[in-house]
């Protein structure tokens, strides 16, 4: 169970106040207009910013006092997920050991992870030699070796074309099920939520306006902010 209790935070003119609880193993898609706080929500959970008050816990362990590296969290950003001067294998290895002290079993798990995301032959390449989709696969491979139960995805496929995005979402969904992850995906595309997520949340003005099972979520007609966001359709 991931629980956020009255997580308060202020940035410039906007006040954020987040509360939510979702079951372990859920796949939560987060949608909403720009500036509504989607990325802020993930940054708070990952620990890149600190809330003024409130509490974050996962399976009854409060973790908002921990540093980003110690939290039960892996995150994939929209870009700059890889160090461009390090090869694919090393980028993944940094997920296991931040000073690259690796055992044989660590090396095996890196190879396995790269194979799992379909990049088994790419271990010695530099990020610059990969396509945008491939780079995000490397980032996903790194989340696999980190073995953290929470996976945060901040619009990781926004820069990819529609076909590739669908493919990548399918991969994420598979990994999510295989590893029994609890996944939060920020997206600009409501159809991503519809196709992949078990739950969907709608953020507006720094608040979680609606959170429901995806099927029910898209049946909601009586929320004005959500209706405005989705357009007349």
């Amino acid at each position: 169970m991931l629980i956020l209790k009255n997580l308060e935070y202020a940035y410039e003119q906007t006040r954020f106040d987040f509360s939510l609880s979702i079951e372990q193993g859920s796949f939560l898609a987060i949608i909403g207009p720009s500036g509504s706080g989607k990325s802020t929500l993930l940054d708070l959970i990952a620990g890149f910013i600190s809330p003024e008050s409130g509490e974050i816990s996962f399976n009854n362990t409060v973790f908002n006092q921990l540093s980003p590296a110690e939290r039960p969290v892996s995150m994939v950003f929209q870009e700059n997920n890889l160090f461009t001067h390090l090869d694919v294998e090393t980028n993944v290895a940094l997920g296991i050991s931040p000073n690259l002290k690796l055992s044989q079993s660590d090396r095996n798990s890196i190879t396995d992870a790269l194979q799992r995301v379909g990049l088994g032959d790419y271990s010695k390449r530099l990020p610059g030699e990969l396509s945008g989709g491939e780079r995000q696969r490397v980032a996903l491979a790194r989340t696999l070796v980190r073995k953290k139960p929470l996976l945060l995805l901040d619009e990781p496929f926004a820069a990819l074309g529609p076909a590739l995005r669908t493919q990548m979402l399918a991969l994420v969904k598979e990994l999510h099920e295989e590893k029994n992850l609890t996944t939060l995906l920020v997206s600009h595309q409501p159809e991503d939520a519809r196709s992949t997520a078990s739950h969907t949340a709608f953020l507006d003005n720094g608040q979680i306006e609606v959170l429901a099972e995806t099927e029910k979520f898209f049946a909601i007609k009586d929320n004005k902010a959500l209706r405005d966001y989705q357009g007349s359709a």
């Binding site: 990952a46 921990l66 540093s67 110690e70 160090f83 001067h85 940094l94 931040p98």
Partner: protein, 535 residues
């Protein structure tokens, strides 16, 4: 649970260590700067009446000359740089333009003393101009003319490049509009160019003025007498020749006060150019094609080009005609070269270590500390090297032989002198890298040595190398501190050059100047190449 605690501890350490290192660096800089300042201040109040400024005629004359030469130098440099930059901007395609602009970057990379030798090679008593004109002109460069020529030699190309880069940022849409409206050259200057130039003018003027105000080496070598002495040179003379620390204190306090006042004024007027978004396409300017425009522009470029290029050519030819082999086998020269390289190397390392510690502590820290660091860095820029040096000279001479402290002081003061430059090269690069990788690095928990080895060094190799090379070249060519503290035991290449110039061994001086120029350029060039070749 125990492991959890340990991790929290290690996270605390990860944040605390850069902070401690940063504060230590700041403390060290403060100690050196304020140590010198305190030494001056205590002597100024107990030892010497400051009221002498108003009664001592010579002192008044020195102050006036200091300001006068800086004003003239800046006005001439800027006055010539604006039309030259405009000519370069208008004629954007002639053969040799890029090489000429590269040449314009050269004087700034050379030590002041080398520039002096270059200027002497063209304008000096036995320079090319006097040789050509014979007894017809036979003018002496020493005094105000020499100071002005040398200052313009250094600052005209610098100011030209700065003005040109601002002119080149004018959006191409402006030129399209100007040709549609058939604007004459006068209107183009008034409505398009001048507004841009006007914005950057105060900043460039302040920079050039400050450089001329604190250009110790040029005035020391080309001043040629008590009637053309600046405050810094007077400080040096009162410490090294008259041994009158009290007088040095008075002069240093005045120099510091003038620098501070001018800095305050320039802060008031300096603006940065707003970012002008533009289409990326080269569009010939409507006012560049006419015959008279070409004639005027190219004429101006040739004159300015000769002014910069001929002294450099004289430097190379004079240097080559000296007996370089004999110089390089003279024990004194070899010893000076070794000393110079060791001192410069250590100074550059110290400079980079201080700069790195300060910057690493700012990144991801609160803004108060960031302000403190940039304040510290600009305080050093304000502190003229000679003032810093003379403060420590006065402080240490109570404790024994000042000259035995020489290596340490040369290293420390040269390192501090290079710090603002290193800060300017490394700062933005480090900020950018932190923006790009900061979250990833913290989320993976990469800290300490691993972070430096795996992430920071590879990513920041280029700016680190450049900052190092810059600091080293600056220390290698410096005459200021070593002139105060140098002795028979500790002599650097610039000091040796200065001495052979003083004892009329002109050929030796020319040879040494060429060697020094080559050394500095080689360092900068190597750093540039190394940082490019690595992936």
């Amino acid at each position: 649970m125990a492991q959890g605690n340990e991790q929290i501890m290690s996270d605390q350490r990860a944040k605390t260590l850069p902070r401690i290192a940063g504060f230590s660096a700041l403390f060290f800089i403060a100690l050196v700067t304020f140590g010198a300042f305190a030494a001056l201040a205590t002597r100024a109040t107990t030892g010497f009446p400051l009221s002498e400024i108003f009664t001592d005629a010579y002192l008044g004359q020195v102050i006036i000359f200091t300001l006068w030469q800086a004003t003239l130098s800046s006005v001439i440099s800027i006055g010539l740089a604006i039309p030259t930059a405009r000519a370069f901007a208008r004629q954007s395609a002639f053969t040799g333009r890029d090489s000429l602009l590269k040449l314009f970057a050269l004087p700034l990379a050379l030590p002041a003393l080398v520039g002096v030798l270059a200027v002497l090679g063209l304008w000096g008593r036995s320079g090319w101009i006097n040789q050509l004109t014979g007894d017809l002109l036979s003018f002496s460069i020493f005094g105000l003319p020499g100071i002005l020529i040398a200052h313009v030699f250094f600052n005209l190309p610098l100011a030209t490049r700065l003005f040109l880069s601002s002119l080149e940022r004018i959006p191409v849409e402006n030129w399209r509009l100007a040709s549609q409206l058939q604007m004459p050259a006068g209107s183009i200057f008034k409505f398009i160019e001048w507004p841009v130039l006007k914005t950057v003018l105060p900043g460039i003027f302040a920079l050039v003025f400050m450089l001329c105000l604190t250009s110790f080496t040029i005035v020391l070598t080309l001043g040629g007498g008590p009637s053309s002495t600046t405050l810094e040179v007077a400080i040096y003379q009162s410490l090294r020749f008259d041994f009158d620390p009290g007088r040095a204190v008075t002069l240093a306090v005045i120099q510091l006060a003038i620098t501070l006042i001018l800095l305050a004024i320039s802060f008031r007027f300096t603006k940065t150019l707003p970012d002008m978004a533009s289409l990326k396409s080269a569009m010939p300017r409507p006012d560049a094609g006419t015959l008279s425009a070409r004639f005027f522009d190219l004429g101006l470029i040739i004159i300015a080009g000769c002014f910069v290029a001929l002294p450099l050519l004289a430097l190379v030819l004079d240097g080559l005609s000296a007996d370089l082999f004999k110089l390089l086998t003279t024990p004194a020269v070899l010893k000076a070269i070794t000393t110079s390289i060791i001192l410069a190397l250590v100074a550059a390392i110290l400079c980079l270590a201080l700069c790195w510690a300060m910057l690493k502590a700012i990144v991801d820290q609160n803004s108060f500390y960031a302000k403190l660091v940039s304040f510290a860095s600009s305080v050093i820029l304000v502190m003229p090297v000679i003032v810093l040096g003379s403060g420590w000279f006065i402080l240490l001479h109570r404790f024994g032989d000042v000259f035995s402290f020489a290596p340490l002081l040369v290293i420390i003061i040269n390192a501090l002198m290079a710090l603002p430059f290193a800060h300017r090269i490394l700062g933005p690069a480090l900020m950018e890298a932190s923006l790009k990788h900061g979250r990833l690095v913290t989320s993976l928990g990469i800290t300490g040595w691993a972070r430096f080895r795996l992430i920071d060094f590879p990513v920041l190799k280029k700016p680190l190398l450049l900052a190092f090379a810059f600091a080293m070249a600056l220390s290698l060519g410096d005459l200021g501190v070593i002139a105060l503290f140098g002795s028979e035991q500790i002599t650097t290449l610039p000091l040796l050059l200065f001495k052979s110039l003083g004892s009329y061994r002109t050929h030796d001086a020319q040879g040494l100047a060429l060697l020094l120029a080559i050394a500095c350029l080689l360092i900068l060039y190597t750093a540039d190449k190394l940082s490019r070749s690595s992936r």
